[in-house]
Amino acid sequence: MADLTLPAALRDVEAVRSVRTPARLDYRYTPGTATSRFLHAIEQKRIMGERCPVCRKVYVPPRGACPTDGVPTEEQVELPHTGTVTSFCVVNLQFYGQGMEIPYVSANILLDGSHLPIMHLIQEVQADKVRTGMRVEAVWVPDEEMGPTLESIKWFRPTGEPDVQVDIPGEDHGTGLGSWVGGSPPEDPRAAQTHGGDA
């Protein structure tokens, strides 16, 4: 840093080193068509996923697009309120804006009939008893508190059913996507168009 010559009047006063610049911006969000449909169903205590017309997979909450095929997902599929824990973590830290008692469990839960886990809380069980493969069900807030929001599902709790085999991409590892099985690099399915296929 080069030396800075100051006017005499500023040499002997305490220099300002920081400044607070408060900023407030107001945004008025709209949820989008697919999310609106989902939230209206939630208010009625129904969990509605949407099926991709190409790969037939069911996404919940739906975002309006199949992330694999890039097409709208419009076919509505009502899902049961049960699912399987595919993975989880035990949280021992109070987060900004969160009012949870610690420790608590945040889990990836694959709802039956859907293909991508949602993240939600597991309660009504000791944190150290939660397992991958555990069967769980949604617990709803009291009827008077129900609204078009995901918080209408208060948390999930164990159903007591036996654990099941978790089957998510990569789980079997032998053909896990992204692994270098047998030391050979994965084939790029898009290699044809990335190496001047048309030229």
Binding site: R17, T21, Y29, Y59, R63, C89, S106, M119, G176, S179
Partner: protein, 389 residues
């Protein structure tokens, strides 16, 4: 026609700290850029174009801050470009800059990546409650911890591997004067005794939040050749690659993402690497939680699936191992988010230039820089070497 050669001819970074109270945003960025220019023996006016990268603008509350930085980075009258690809941005910014030289458009490009997290709090900016979207009940760690649990389950890794990585990286950081965390008293036991934040992630296995910047000067073949002739060794770029995949796809493996593996395969193909474990001399990879080291070792083809943790346990990734990883101390020791990817790329360049000081890997000739971002879905990599490709 086709790709011209490009090399790193200048590297600079700031001292990374939780709060760089002595500088403005412009001052922070200029500190790194000025050092890269000095390293390249250039002045601001020698530069043809500037490429800037950083993570979300909400971190500092300045929208598209490169516009404000145009003066500070000597860009007036020049092309200025801003990249944002989530956590991988530092890496992808360097790649965009290198392409400007490879395409023959510019001879000397300055690229800078930065974050001044102390202006707000990353946790605040990342957890802005967006109505209608599923809440993240536990911040970024809460998102990645289940992936790590899946990795442990799949690989049958013993549960102390994360602590071994943290210990290695923090000890490497003691050799790096720019690193944020210098914890001379850290031990395996102190890491194991630190608070279990997001089981299976302990506090001492997580990255800090830093203010910091990193800059590179990229030169054309003639610029790099001249630098070499003047005794300033360039780091030649042997390969560059980026891959992206969806956030919320039912088809993707969040532990060993296909995008990461394809990115590595692409960059090795360009660099003529067929056996990465043996041919690569040093790796800087993006490890914000210690467990990502064994995961990325597998994803990037350095270990068989399920065996990454064995390399850690065997000490293969230590500074004196056969494949040193995160010689600088890594993201675990300094994390100015937007700059973190470029710091990985910069360390790889420093290694093959032989300018890494106390954390130099003896005789490193070929090094890999790696960055990732989003929900393990954006990947950027390069391979740099001491020899002209």
């Amino acid at each position: 026609m086709g790709k011209e050669r490009v090399a790193v001819v200048g590297v600079g970074q700031t001292k990374h700290e939780s709060t760089r109270g002595d500088v403005s945003i412009a001052g922070l960025v200029r500190e790194a850029a000025g050092r890269a220019l000095a390293d390249a023996e250039m002045t601001w006016t020698d530069i043809d174009a500037v490429v800037i990268g950083k993570a979300p603008d909400f971190f500092e509350g300045v929208m598209m801050p490169e516009l404000y930085l145009a003066d500070a980075l000597g860009c007036v009258g020049k092309p200025l470009f801003r990249v944002h690809t989530a956590g991988s941005v530092g890496g992808s910014t360097a790649l965009v800059a290198s392409q400007l030289v490879q395409a023959g458009i510019h001879e000397r490009v300055l690229t800078v990546a930065w974050e001044k997290q102390s202006e707000s709090e990353a946790m605040w900016a990342l957890s802005l409650p967006i109505p209608f979207q599923p809440p993240l009940h536990a911040g970024a760690g809460g998102y990645f911890a289940p992936h790590i649990r899946s990795y442990i389950r799949r690989s049958k890794s013993p549960d102390h591997i994360g602590a071994l990585v943290a210990l290695k990286d923090r000890r490497n950081a003691l050799k790096n004067p720019y690193a944020h965390l210098h914890e001379p008293d850290i031990t395996f036991d102190s890491i194991r005794e630190s608070l279990m934040l997001w089981d299976p992630i302990r506090y001492a296995e997580t990255c800090p939040s830093s203010d910091g910047a990193c800059a590179l000067v990229l030169g054309s073949e003639s610029v790099a050749t001249a630098a070499a002739a003047a005794g300033r060794k360039p780091a030649w770029v042997h390969g560059t690659a980026m891959r992206s995949e969806p956030t919320m796809s039912a088809d993707r493996d969040t532990v060993l993402p296909l995008g990461g593996a394809l990115c590595a395969a692409d960059v090795y193909r360009q660099a003529g690497i067929t056996d990465p474990r043996r041919q690569v001399d040093a790796v800087e990879m993006y490890v914000p939680f210690s467990w990502f080291e064994p995961m990325w070792l597998e994803n990037l083809g350095f270990a068989e699936p399920g065996d990454g943790w064995r390399m850690v346990e065997d000490g293969a990734t230590a500074l004196d191992g056969d494949l040193p990883v995160n010689m600088s101390g890594g993201v675990l020791s300094s994390n100015p988010i937007g700059a973190s990817g470029m710091l990985r790329f910069a360390e790889a360049a420093m290694q093959v230039r032989g300018t890494a000081g106390e954390h130099q890997v003896d005789g490193a000739k070929l090094a890999v820089g790696h960055a990732y971002g989003g929900g393990s879905q954006f990947f950027a990599m390069w391979v740099v070497g001491s020899d002209k490709p």
